[in-house]
Symmetry: C2
Subunit: 201 residues, 2 copies
């Protein structure tokens, strides 16, 4: 019999947070429900009450955690900058500076799920595509603003640039997994900085 939690929302969020960390370090297919349950404070029965399948848990991580993490890390802080191009670079720099060394071998949680799950699960693929599209859309909004304010050359294709920025950022985390230090992150940052300078007025 499943012990009823007095705060089901909090319990659900606790399971999601623990599962997010386990999947980040071991991969979605590489981690078992037992391993996740062991790291939580709930019973296996309670776990299945919230997430009847591992798939449903995975989808909830994309919809409820990754989406917010991407916006909070990369997008929301941009509104504080007069020139959004400076904002994009400052955020990237800050994120690299504050990245924990212990996390570097594990890359980006969004990129990891894209690489692992998109080819084998169409629902994952669609949900992950939605997060990437949102990330690109929001970057494009700020890039357009930079163009309207006269910071960016008029002939810059704002969609292409937004896509390139997101690809650059994901790529630097992806290759970091082979080295486990910040070499590729800084290399990518400095190249993007030069590229954006070439496109700026």
């Amino acid at each position: 019999m499943v012990k009823k939690s007095r705060n089901p929302e909090k319990t659900r969020a606790h399971i999601l947070e623990v599962a997010f960390g386990e999947i980040y370090r071991k991969g979605f297919q590489g981690v078992s429900i037992d391993a996740i349950v062991n790291e939580t404070s709930v019973t296996k029965g309670a776990f299945f009450h919230y997430f009847p399948t591992k798939q449903e848990l995975g989808y909830a991580i994309v919809d409820e955690i990754l989406n917010d993490v991407i916006l909070e890390r990369w997008i929301t802080p941009l509104k504080a900058y007069k020139n959004p191009i400076n904002g994009i670079l400052s955020r990237y720099k800050k994120i690299i500076e504050t990245a924990e060394d212990a996390d570097l071998p594990f890359g980006c949680p969004l990129n990891n799920l894209i690489q692992e799950m998109s080819p084998v699960d169409p629902i994952f693929k669609e949900k992950l595509r939605t997060v990437i599209s949102l990330w690109i859309d929001k970057n494009e909004e700020y890039i357009k603003k930079a163009q309207e304010l006269g910071y960016l050359k008029k002939d810059v294709d704002t969609r292409q640039l937004a896509e390139f920025i997101v690809m650059t950022q994901e790529a630097s985390y992806g290759l970091t997994k082979t080295v486990g230090d910040k070499t590729f992150l800084w290399s990518s940052y400095h190249s993007l900085k030069k590229y954006l300078a070439a496109l700026s007025v």
Copy 2:
């Protein structure tokens, strides 16, 4: 009893090629030895004669297939170009043009293994790092040549540019897995072309 092959080298290459395709489509951890054996013309006994463990099979794919595929696709053709920068762009364009639609949802086989196996297997990580380093080294040789020949600005950091080119190319394949068409590949190509133009004399 294992039936002796009359051409062990050919049999080994056949197993590697089949396994490469299966792992490309299903992931290393997602594919079973039985599934690979079923796609080959050898018995399970013969398979284990050549590859006693799935790990050894995976390492051989990195050392013997991925290394050559990367050099053949991206590097060897560069020697035909007077200006290596044009060569890098022409190859990238050609590779995108000739990419099979059916392969797009599966991304790049090297990037896939990096994302999946680097965090969980230090031997894979080291072998994959070696392939990436070689790819960057060879790009840098051609970038240096372009600089010596006066095609590229003297103040370009050749290592940083080589890293950025490889990251850009891997990234475009990585995000392509969420859409399954060539949007991100072309977007990345056109952005890289503009960036290289800005760095050229």
